[in-house]
Every structure is written in structure tokens, then in C-alpha cells.
Amino acid sequence: MQVREDQHRLFQLLCQSKQPWDVQELAQQAGMDQPMAMGTVTFAQHEGWVTVSEIERLELIASDDANARVCSELPERQFIYVLQKYGKMALQEVAQEAQKLGLQVNEIIKWGTQRGWLQKQGRELVVSEAGKKITPQLHDDDEKMFRLICDANWRKEKLPEAKGEARIFLDQLPALGIDPERVRELLKNRAELAKIKSRTQRKVTLTDKGRAAIASLSVACEEKNQLTSEDILSGNWKKISLRPYDVTLAAELKHVSKIHPLQKIIQEARQAFLQMGFTEVVSPQAEVSFWDFDALFQPQDHPSRDMQDTFYLKRPKEGPLPDAGLVEKVRQTHQNGGTTGSAGWGYQWKPQEARKMVMRTHTTATTVRALAADPKPPRKVFCVGRVFRNETIDFKHLPEFHQVDGIIIDNSASFCALLGTLREFYRKMGFSEVKFKPSFFPYTEPSADVLVWMPQKKTWLEFGGCGVFRPEVTEPLGCTVPVLAWGLGLERLAMMRYDLNDIRVLYGSDLDWLQEVSLCQ
């Protein structure tokens, strides 16, 4: 029988040693790539020349920067030095200090506590006795363990049987005096340092039949891994046999440049409304209170206009009001209902309050501007934009996020048509079950909260609000037909789809996350 030269080499190697061969090592020594070697082994197995045993091994794969992180810069370690100086710190200061160092507060607290270095007491972070003893020289056992795993050079020295291989397996750890269970435990929550992946190792043992068969093998004439351009052009390819691959082996993933996952959802939301015949509109992010609040019949002392919730601007402090006729209609509507048939709020409306500039608190400011600009039915408009709330930053909150707002101005518009439209929108976004719950907004009546069923979490999640604009909103703007309106959040939807617990990840641009996240749908 004729075999290729490299296959021949491989079989010779098998004959030389009585020990079972690891396929990877065999490939290396025979100068073949692994899929090719595996193909040859599979062929030999079919012929009954070899037996192949498979063992599952767990490989530890340290991340690129694990060594650097572990050596000096685990967040709890960086921060414990700061905390040692003060003994204890208010959580608020912790947040500020952590920001200066570029650290995540939750990581500091989580790991610092887990390692017994610090404790949360009420609204303070306190260094523990163990924490006081931490010095840059003294690393504890866990940290040493991380270091050993992550430092390939060190391993080469300690683990000669690995033969200089860069890989390390969980079952090799006891030889290094490390408890594999402890490593598993630590990495469960610290995936940024290293991951555990299951690998199949194949061992090949020559049979007697194989030994006899190999003795009678001869080498075939020309064999190649890769066709060259010359082979193709010259017609030489006819004499060449190309080696088969093991096509079942997994390949390494490519680096992909991707649309940002949050942008993906924004674009899907835009497409959904465009497909439903909506026209896209925009409005300023730095907005006059008039459009953010007053035009929406929100009284000037309404809690949502509070400094606590709304960003007011220092520059520019005030902005322009629309034409005097419209301002007058809005003033009257607030005060006594004007000509809308409403009782109004019964207070003195002040133009200076309406002139105050804010960062818009909702994109309903955008749609109400669009309504004012052209109130004639039929019209359907939508926008996706950023909105701002005076919040501090934590895993649930950011001071800004995206909303998709829309309105339908139509003679046949009704509350039922509003709910039907939103059901259709969420169906397009991949959610088949939607329900509505009565709610309250100062500018819609009736008002509803929109809840969407999350099959994987088996729960209803609230994604936004909707309603029919009150006549106190529409009539001063010159509109006499019902106007359907909604404002829906996108970040929560993104967190659901990408399985995130921390909203900051969406704005954090961590390359590993950007690579690993599946855009799906």
C-alpha cells in the first residue's frame, strides 16, 4: 500500500515507541498539522492498525492580560492600599476614588469582601484586620494560585512533563500543589482572568496488525497540503494528491468588527417603525422646558420637573419660547383649561419657568414638537434618541439612555389602535406576547404601561408607557383628532437580549465583551 510521505513518518513514529501517543504530539513530531494527523489516525483506526482512546481534559486558558492583572492590579488590591490610608470610607467617596483609579466599585466590594479584606458597614466601607496586613509584597494563597496559572514561564520550570507546552490542564494542578476544586471555585466568578474549557485528548496505540501492515508500506510519489498558483496554472495538479482533513474538528473564531450591540437594537427599532410607515423626526437633546414639560400639560410644580430628577442647564440657562399665540394657549390651558373643555391645573403659569433649559427627560419632547410643526392628520412619526435623568451611576442606572417615541395623528386613531400598534412593534422586535396595564402620565388619557413576556426568564418586564394625548396637549397645538403616543426604553431590552446584569457594560466598550456577545436575531 502507498501512503504519503508525512503519513509514513507518522506510522514510523508509532512503531518506534511502545507507549500510547498523544495525537497532538504525534502530529508535531511528524511535521503535520493536527487535522491532517487526525485524518491519518482515523484511517489507520478503520484499518484496525491502531486503537484510539479519548479522554476529556479541562484546560485552563488565561486571558491575554491575566498575568498583568494578577501581578499588581486586581481591583480589590489596588483599592485596599487607598482604604488602608483612611481605615474606612463612605460608599460615595469609594465611588469617587474608584473612578479616579478606573476601577469598578462593585468589583472592589465583591472581591474585597470575598477575600476578607474589607466589609460594608451601613453606608461605609471598612478595612478588616486581614485587610490592614496587605502589603504589596504579601500575596495570599489565592492570588499566588492565579499567578501560577497565568504565568507560562513559571510553569515551564515547575512542570517538565508539560514539555514546554503553553497549555495547562486542571489535572496537572495537584502536581503543582494547587487544589483544582479551589481554582474552579475562584474562576466561577472571575472569568476575566481565565476560563476553563473542555478539551478532548486522543491517545493512539499501535496494534500487532498495524505493526505488520506498516512494515510493508511504501511512500507515494507527490503529496501536498496546499495547491500553489503554479501547480494550478501548469497543470501539475493532476499529479498531486491533496491530503484529506478531519473536517469535524472545530476552528478558532475570527475577530469580527461588529455594529455595537446597542446600536443593533436601535437600528432594529428604527426599521420596525419605518416598515410600519412612520416618518423619522429629531429634536434637540438640550431642550427648552416648554417642549419637555409645558406643551405636555405637565404643571410647573410637578415632581418630575424637580431638580432631583431633571438636569437643568447652566449654559444656556434659558431658551426661546415658540410664537406668542401658542404660548398664550398653553398658558390658559394650564391655568383653567382654556378652550379645551378641561378644568386645567388652577395655578399661575409662568413663562420664565417654561424658558428654563433642560437635558430632555423623554423623547416625547421630540414627538410633541413634530405634532406642533404639522398637526394635520394623517401622520405617523417616530424617533429614537437619548434622554437624560439626574441619576448617579450604578449597575441599574445611568444618567442617560435611549427611548423610542412615536405618535399617530389620525381620524381613526383610538386607544385600541395604540395598543395594537405597540403589539406589532414588539412582535417585530422578536417578542410575541405583550400586555398592557393601566398607568398614569400627566399628558395621556387613558394611559398604559407596556409589559413584554420574556420566555427565557419566565417573567413580564415593563418596557415603557403609552396613551392617547390629552386634549389639553393636542388642542393648543391645533390638532383636533386623537393622537396616540408612546415612549419605550431600549436599554432594558438590550440587557435582556444580551443577558446583561449591569447596564454600564453597554457603554463600556470592553473589547472582549464586544467580541463575545452574539448579535443574534
Binding site: 446600536q263 438640550a286 415632581p303 405617523k380 439626574n390 444618567p399 393601566p438 398614569f440 387613558p446 464586544l514
Partner: protein, 594 residues
Amino acid sequence: MPVIGISVKYLNALLKTSLSPEELTETLGQLGCDADEPADIAIYECPQCRVPSEKLSQEEAPRRCVICGHEAESDFPSIGSDKVVRLDLLPARSDLFDPGGLSRALKGYLEIETGLPHYHVETPEIRVEVSPDLSLPQSYRPFIACAVVTMPPLDGLLLRVLMKLQENLHWGIGRNRKLSSIGVYDLDTITPPIFYGAASPTATTFCPLGLSKPMTAAEILEKHPKGIAYAHLLKPLSAYPLLRDSRGQVLSLPPIINSNETKVRIGTTRLFIDVTGITQSDVDKSLNTFITSLSEMGGHVQAVIVRHQDSEKITPDLEAKEIQIHLDKAHKWLGFDLKASDLVRYLERMRLGAHGRSPVYYVKYPVYRADIKHEVDIFEDIAIAHGFANLPLHMVSTMTVGEERAEEKVSQTARQIMLGMGFDEIVSLTLTTEQNHFTKLRLTPGQEHVMLLNSKLSDYNVVRCHLWTGLMESLNKNRRKAVPQKFFELGNAIIYSGEEKIPREERRLAFCIIGPDTGYAEARAVIDTLLKDLRKSGQYKPLEHPTFIGGRAAELTTSDGYKAYLGELHPEILENFGLGFPVALGELTLAQAI
């Protein structure tokens, strides 16, 4: 928004039902309440003033009393526990803040008792004299409305319900006691008539709630926890409002605190209630909401004569109000087939009354429904009574053609080009700090960025006027990962353009490359590629700019009149962001957005 816990046991007792916490939560949700998961609570008592307080059972026990300010070394003693349904309060529906009001709405919705509730008000026996001083600017709190309510003897639960309702009405209607505030007293400790006048802050002393030491009003504002919390409401005045009885016994210092002597306690049955404030409508609204809820919990209301210098008024007025609705308009507004026979049944289910003949109806609504301003408010009640889950969903049939914004179209194309060139897209925040937006980029903050006035994150008071900060933060975040790295962001830069003008917005594309071999040439290649694919051209000229290395930066004006900047970052900036390789960066305006 405050969250309240409503005792499941008590609510069932009022309803004469035995609904589970989950059933109650579900039904309240259908009614429009913002109901959370049911929870267990523990009840504690202040060892000094004996006032009970509630905490979720997983929360720590209190050690400090919010009423009298007593601070204990150890946890307050627990005196019981309860199961509650939890509601986020909606300011517009202050009639749904307490078990009484909720039971009234639930009775209707569950059809246990429907239609307009009637409240009998007995003829007045007590008089309140109001001094004209309260209309003067230096002691302004002119409006007052009062009532007497006889309750079943108060037990711990009822006392807590009463106090919580009072506090929540302070928030919901009183705007934290500014517009109106409620005082509740044991009438048996008072000798009518009652005098509502103004007094100098240091003239009168009395024991504030929870304390047995007499203090002047000025001292209360300085030392008592409630005084400190609400001092700002009285500080502008030189004489403070004060309620006293005919013996001179102080009832309260509105809107701060009651006196200890006249407080309600376990066993009290006759309550005197006053609401003072700076608007008549909020004073009336607070009183009416409060006493109609007490009525639902077994209270009987008696009126009070309020005598001003030259007029006399009897409060409260609990007469229902009326609004006209049109059936055809309701049908059009809601979009489902509404029968005249169903209409009246639905309205009664929502505790409203109705008479009239199709298509015009006159709807009577109780005084506590302060949210009703327009017939559309009645339409909502009709939809709730019908049940949102039973609505026939559809869409408007009118054909319209959609159209996207120009800046979004060009952004989409630019995104495809950038992704094709191997750049990763990022999304960063619009709000940033002066440090990250200017100083670390060797820029001096100029006049063209928008600034926040009141950010809770004290450093975050700059609105971005370029997109470089997000890119730099991304490079910093990924500084330990393999290079080269390439990022881009598409977003709006917000530019302040002068006094009283709305800031402009430009849609921009910004990108950066970090790596050992990057430089001006690479940034230039990216921009030229973009321009070609977007079918634009541009004029380059050298740029001296503090952010870039001298001689390695350019400004570009595109054929459609927009600017672009590109270059190699100054090494000091690399240091500022903790980077170890050269960075090339560029920013191109794609379109005017606002």
C-alpha cells in the same frame, strides 16, 4: 415615589373578602395601581414616644425615631409582623394611598359595592376663628379647612394607617407640606373654640410631639428632627402660624409639628383634623381625601365652622361633582364597541354615578377624584372597567409612507464602511467631565459646550461637543489587550451657539487606531476612503492643535462644507490615558442634525 405597604388582613377585613396577597396585587394592577410583589413587614415601637413604625422584614430594625428623634443603643423592640401588598404611589390618585381608599375602589371593581359613595356630614358644633394676620406676607398661610371625625377606638394598626396617609398626602398633594399640611388631634384633649393665628417664633412654648420638654417655635426649627426637616417653609416668615384652643393650649405649629399634649393615641375616638396651606384648592383636596378615606375605615364626619374676619364657611364640602360625557366620543377615543347599557355599569364599577340618555350622560364623581379634569378622564375609567386585557387590538388603517432622516442614512453608510475597514463600534455617554473632555486632551474648556447646573455626579457637568472622549476612554479600558485596536463611534456633538439659542447638533463620525505602526497616514487613509465611498471630496490644510503632535495634524473642509480633524495624538495625552502606543484619531462631521 414613595412606596406603601397595605396590610392584606386589614384590606380583606374592609372588603369582607379573603383574597390572597397575589390576587389583591393583580386586581390593584388592573385598577391602575403600580403594585409590586407582596412582602412581609415587621412593626417596631419607639421606646420614647411609643409611635410604631414599619420595615420590610429583611431590613434592619430602626434605632432612631423619625417622629421624636429618639436614638437608641440597640434596635427598637419589635411588636408584631404583617403581610402587605406594596404600591408605588401615583401623585395623581391620592385617593388610592390607604386601605380605606383602596377598599372603596376594590369594592367597585369587584362589584361588592358599586356606584357613587355617599358621605353623611353632621351639622357643626365646633368653631375655628381665623386671624387676618395669616393673610399678611410676614405670616402667610391663609387657608384652613377642618373636620371632626369619630372613629372606632384607634388601635396600633389604625394609628399607623392614619399617620402614613397623613404623610403621603403631605407628599402627594401638599408638595412636602408647602401647599398644604394636615394636623390630627385627640378632640378630647382640646377645649373649643380653636384659634388659628400667627405668633412670634420665640413668644410661645409647647412640647412638640414625642417630647415632654417645652420649646419655642424657633428652638423646634433648630433642634427637633421635623423642625429641621421643614424649617425652610417657615424661615421666610417673621411670625409663625399657630393653632391654639380656648385655654391657650397649642395644637400645632403648621406645617411643622403637633403638640405632644393633643396627640392621638391608642384608644382615641374623636379626631379633630385641620388642613392649612397656601392654596384653597389643595387645602380642600387634602381634607376631603383624608376624611373620605377615614369614613371607609369606620369614621363619621362632622362639619366645623371656620370663621374669618368678615366671612364664615362650613367645612368640609363633600358634595359630588358632575361632568358631561358623550358616548360617541368615548367610542371614538377608546376604539371599541361600547354599549349604552354597559356604560352605566362600567361607571358604577369605578365608583361613579351616571344619568342621562344616549348619547349624552352626566357623570357624578366624588370630591376625592381630583384627577378628573376632562371627559377623557372618564373615558379612561370606562376602559379600566372594561379591562385592558379585553380590548380588541387593531391598527389604524390609513396608509402612510415612512421616511428616515438624512443623517441616519449617511450614518448607516459610514458604519458599513468603518466596519469593513475593521473598526469596532462603540457607544459612549453624552455627559462627561471637564477633565476627560478637555484637560486630559490638552484642551482649554471654551464657550461652545453646554453645561449642566445640578448634576448629582458632581464632575459630570459637561455635555460633549466632540466625540473624542468616548474613544479615549475605550482605549484606556482596553489598554492591556493586544494592539492594534481600532474603534469608531457615530453620534451627535452638541454645540452651544450663543445666548438663548437652542444648542446645535452635528452628526459626527470619530475613529481612532492604537498600535506600534499607526500614525497620520493611517488616519488620512481612513478619511480618504470614507470620502470616496460617500462621494465627497475635501481640502486639507496643516493644523496646529494642542491635542495633536505639531506637523502631524490636518484640518479638512469637505465639498459639502463640513469640517474634519485628524492627526497623531500628543504623547502627553497618551500618558494621561495610560496608553503605551501611538494613537491616530480623526473626526468628521457627516450632517447637521439640529
